[in-house]
């Protein structure tokens, strides 16, 4: 067992800010992926300088360092693979600067996504990327994962809204990438670090762009009696060149669970709904609403409802954003997948997911960012049923393989993390992966920042690294 320099960590962050008793560490054994593995210690620094000291201490001993925000990630990015020290950013949650005229904010990584939008809302601004977990997830985690969200369809994902970073490198140096203005000369390291899942540096400060709130917002609920009607509508909206702010789909199975939990007003007897949001000038929103209604009608929508006020709109979104939780009411466990396909292939893909569901005797709910082609099949299972656990993992792997076959990707916004590192060869050749390894060797040559993530370890070739059974360690098959 490796020796953790607890005394030194306590000296750096204060005794109260270091957790090391097994019962205290239990909370940090997992994130949103169903996999457990305990760190050796958790430290809560309150400044960049403390992060530097922690990193230097860990470097001396060769101890892995894993950065963690709120632990809402869905790919095991914040879970240790082989022990180590977790740097949890719960105490670094200051909004350092809000510069409205320049449309910028500078924040510490522990700031909760929604809190930033709330802090600038009086000025008529917000922070655009809105992961469904935005009430809890942190901006540091968003940067690590390059998070998306429903409204990234029109406004882009995290990387399109981050201009600069402060980060700590494995040797304890602090580097500043980017700036608060565009196009600082040099390589775009900010663009490289965003989405690198804590494997290249520990981000300690983030400069983001703030966006102006639109004048008008309209939320529509299009109701369908058959899933293909809904998927064809999505393809038609894209092909007509209408870009809603958000275009989300929920199948009948999922919406019934959501409705039972949130009473958002989703029709219990429908096969699928599309939640569509339009934003902009009043005139644009009016016109696009009519266009969308026409496309929906052409594709056999049963009905298109308009949210009449902010309350109705919030309710519809509450249903969508709390859907994962609602599913907990009907199934002991579920496994969320995150694949991407070209949007025109949506009808075909949904058929395929239906076949997988049948073949493996599972229930799969679908609630996803349809406008981006970013799927989130939710595979229901009972972790006490060993056979079902195995079928779930197999089914998920088949769905991901199909996404790749259709020209898509293994992950749209949840990240590769631990879960999909061994699936990277589905998308990338050995040469492609070697190029990424070279990048890693530049930033993290000894590999002790978030080891075992993103790049394939070669240990479980081609398999999802997820543990769907109860308790125990990460499943190591293959």
């Amino acid at each position: 067992m490796r020796k953790i320099p607890l005394d030194r960590l306590k000296q750096i962050a204060g005794a109260a800010n270091v957790l090391w008793r097994p019962e205290d560490l239990m909370l940090y054994e997992y994130d949103g992926l169903s996999t457990q593995s305990a760190p050796d210690a958790v430290v809560f620094p309150s400044s960049t300088e403390q992060v530097v000291q922690i990193v230097k201490t860990a470097a001396q001993e060769g101890i892995p360092i894993i950065a963690r925000g709120a632990g809402t990630g869905l790919s095991g990015g914040a879970v240790v693979v082989e022990g180590g020290v977790v740097i949890a950013f719960a105490r670094m949650k200051k909004i350092v600067e809000i510069d409205v005229e320049n449309q910028r904010a500078r924040v510490q990584p522990g700031v909760v996504n929604l809190d930033l939008s709330l802090a600038v809302s009086d000025y008529g601004y917000y922070y655009a990327p809105d992961p469904s977990s935005q009430k809890a997830c942190t901006l540091g985690g968003n940067v690590a994962e390059n998070s998306g969200g429903p409204h990234t369809l029109a406004y882009g994902v995290t990387t399109n809204h981050v201009l600069g970073l402060e980060m700590v490198l494995p040797d304890g140096t602090v580097a500043h990438t980017g700036a608060n203005y565009w196009d600082r000369p040099g390589y775009d390291l900010t663009g490289l670090i965003v989405g690198s899942e804590g494997t290249l540096g520990i981000v300690t400060e983030i400069t983001v762009r703030l966006s102006r709130r639109p004048e008008a917002v309209k939320t529509l609920l299009a109701i369908f009696d058959a899933i293909p009607h809904a998927t064809r509508t999505v393809a038609a909206i894209t092909a007509r060149g209408i870009t809603p702010a958000a275009l989300e789909m929920m199948d009948g199975f999922t919406l019934r669970a959501v409705e039972a939990a949130t009473h958002a007003g989703y029709p219990m007897d429908s096969a699928a709904v599309l939640l569509i949001e339009l934003e902009g000038l009043r005139e644009a929103v009016e016109e696009e609403t009519e266009q969308i209604e026409a496309v929906c009608a052409e594709n056999s929508a049963r009905e298109v409802r308009r949210a009449r006020n902010a309350e109705e709109r919030d309710l519809l979104w509450r249903g969508r954003k709390n859907a994962f939780g609602a599913l907990g009411r009907i199934s002991p466990s579920y496994y969320v997948q995150d694949g991407v396909i070209p949007r025109t292939r949506l009808p075909e893909m949904m058929d395929y997911i239906g076949q997988v569901e049948e073949r493996h005797r599972l229930r799969i709910g679908n609630i996803f960012h349809a406008g981006d082609g970013n799927l989130h099949p939710l595979l229901m299972y009972d972790s006490r049923d060993r056979g079902e656990c195995e079928r779930v993992t197999k089914a998920a792997a088949e769905i991901i393989a199909k996404c790749v076959e259709l020209g898509g990707s293994i992950t749209g916004e949840h990240g590769v993390g631990m879960e999909k590192s061994e699936l990277m060869p589905l998308l990338f050749s050995a040469d492609d992966i070697n190029a990424m390894k070279k990048i890693k060797s530049v930033f993290n040559p000894r590999g002790f920042f978030n080891p075992g993530k993103v790049l394939p370890t070669g240990k479980m070739c081609g398999e999802l690294r997820v543990h769907t059974g109860a308790g125990g360690q990460l499943a190591e098959r293959g």
Binding site: E101, N102, Q103, R104, N146, G148, V157, T159, N160, V174, A175, H176, A179, Y181, W182, D183, R184, P185, G186, Y187, D188, L189, G191, L192, V194, S196, R212, P214, T238, R240, G241, I242, T243, G280, L281, E283, E286, E287, V340, P342, R343, G373, N374, G407, G408, S409, G412, E413, H414, K420, L427, F428, S429, D431, D432, I433, A435, M436, K438, I439
Partner: protein, 450 residues
């Protein structure tokens, strides 16, 4: 130095196919950088050829500069060595065009202008008005992250590229990203390549996200007598629900360019603001009504522009910011600032230019904070170096940076065109060292003489 010419003819021609390489002086001169003329031009016919040529060059200590139409070769520090111009003109095919998915993958040699033409047949475009779009290749635009005033609403190439293929000095063609609009699988190497000026690898295929062409575009031009009026206007627009597609401020010199296409000796005394809205009839109509109200309240006098006049103006402006279109004695600068500091910066640079009796023409991308500034010698060309230094200082003092996009070869020897190195520069050095250990790609041309 071995006899490069002989070595290359025998070996490189075998690698890239004979007929794909020329040693003719005139062909080589077309790709000269300042006083440096390459010894040959290689025209790869495929991505694999490009990779093979790079590998050959790397193994044999030759320096390669990727290029296409030579519109941006004058940007960058003078390379330490320059043997081979790797011209990607021949890679000009559209690979996967999925108009219904709003994605396309293309080779780098296609020019932006012809690409837009192709897309417009399906009612699509990429909302990019990079300098000299008619003459610039997509590869060059992406490699330099070149953008124009449309950036205000749509972003830069960085925001439109979904993935790419890159030829490396190891002779490989590697892939990053994909062809779907959302993708977080693996490190985003495309971000590294975008804006790296061909110093890490050669872009051989690019996947773009596409956008529907707006049904209508309308431009209004306004005159402002002072910069503080312009600032007031910019604040009011950004504080309104309007989302203009472009919004620029021209100083008197810049105003002459947008109208006449060239600096004129005695420009008018006023500043000019051009603002464009895109969208449906109802949207553009409402936007114009609102903008006229804002302009009046800010003290601006405005007038509508015929579509043709507006299009001509916008395209002259794009050409103005193109290094390849500036005269040999001109200095073209790109200044990036926190957007609120743009107007006061212009005030300062105008003062400096006036004192030094140097011609000054500027285009400020309001709301973005990017300024293109052209200095022309009127009396003493020697003033240009000193005034560029002072203007750079003004940009840095206001929290920004200045890049020299184009200047006389003599001046370049006495100035670092990129400015000082930031504290993440050691990482950039290590990246360059790892990806291009023999210094094959554009050695010395980029920031910090990478």
């Amino acid at each position: 130095m071995p006899n490069v010419a002989e070595q290359l003819t025998a070996q490189l021609a075998a690698v890239v196919g004979s007929g794909s390489i020329t040693f003719e002086r005139s062909a080589c001169s077309a790709f000269a950088i300042d006083d440096l003329v390459p010894q040959c031009v290689v025209y790869p016919g495929s991505a694999a050829h490009a990779a093979a040529a790079l590998q050959y060059a790397s193994n044999n200590g030759l320096a390669v500069v990727p290029c296409c139409n030579a519109t941006k070769l004058s940007t960058g520090n003078v390379p330490r060595r320059y043997d081979v111009a790797l011209c990607l003109k021949g890679l000009d095919q559209t690979r996967h065009y999925e108009p219904d998915d709003l994605t396309v993958s293309v080779e780098p040699g296609i020019r932006l202008g012809s690409f837009q033409e192709l897309l417009s047949r399906r009612g699509l475009w990429i909302p990019l008005d990079a300098p000299d779009g008619a003459g610039s290749s997509l590869g060059g635009i992406v490699a330099t992250n070149a953008s124009g005033p449309l950036r205000l609403r749509y972003g830069a190439p960085r925001d439109m590229v979904l993935g790419m293929k890159i030829a490396t000095v190891e002779g490989k063609v590697i892939k990053t990203g994909g062809r779907v609009v959302k993708n977080v699988a693996g490190y985003d190497l495309a971000k590294l390549m975008i804006g790296s000026y061909g110093t890490l690898g050669v872009i051989v295929e690019i996947n773009f996200k596409l956008y529907p062409l707006p049904p209508r575009r309308v431009t209004r031009a306004f005159r402002a007598t002072t910069l503080s009026i312009a600032r007031d206007f910019r604040r009011k627009v950004l504080d309104s629900p309007l989302s203009p597609s472009r919004m620029i401020l021209l100083d008197p010199g810049g105003s002459a360019i947008i109208r006449a296409g060239a600096p004129i000796a005695r420009p008018a005394e006023h500043y000019e603001i051009w603002i464009e809205f895109a969208g449906s009839e109802a949207v553009t109509h409402r936007s114009l009504t609102m903008i006229e109200g804002i302009a009046a309240s800010a003290g601006l006098a405005g007038h509508p522009l015929e579509e043709a006049a507006a299009d001509g103006g916008w395209s002259r402006l794009a050409d103005f910011a193109s290094p390849g279109r500036r005269g040999p004695e001109d200095v073209l600068l790109k200044v990036s600032l926190p957007l609120s500091r743009a107007e006061e910066f212009i005030e300062c640079s105008l003062r400096e230019a006036g004192a030094a009796k140097v011609g000054h023409a500027a285009c400020v991308q309001l709301g973005v904070g990017i300024i293109h500034l052209c200095l022309t010698p009127e009396e003493r060309a020697s003033e240009l170096l000193a005034i560029t230094g002072r203007i750079r200082q003004a940009a840095v003092q206001r929290g920004g940076a200045l890049t020299v996009l184009h200047c006389p070869a003599g001046m370049k020897k006495n100035i670092d065109v990129w400015g000082t190195e930031p504290d993440d520069f050691p990482l950039m050095q290590r990246l360059k060292q790892t990806w291009d250990p023999n210094g094959t790609l554009s050695p010395g041309r980029f920031l910090g003489h990478l």
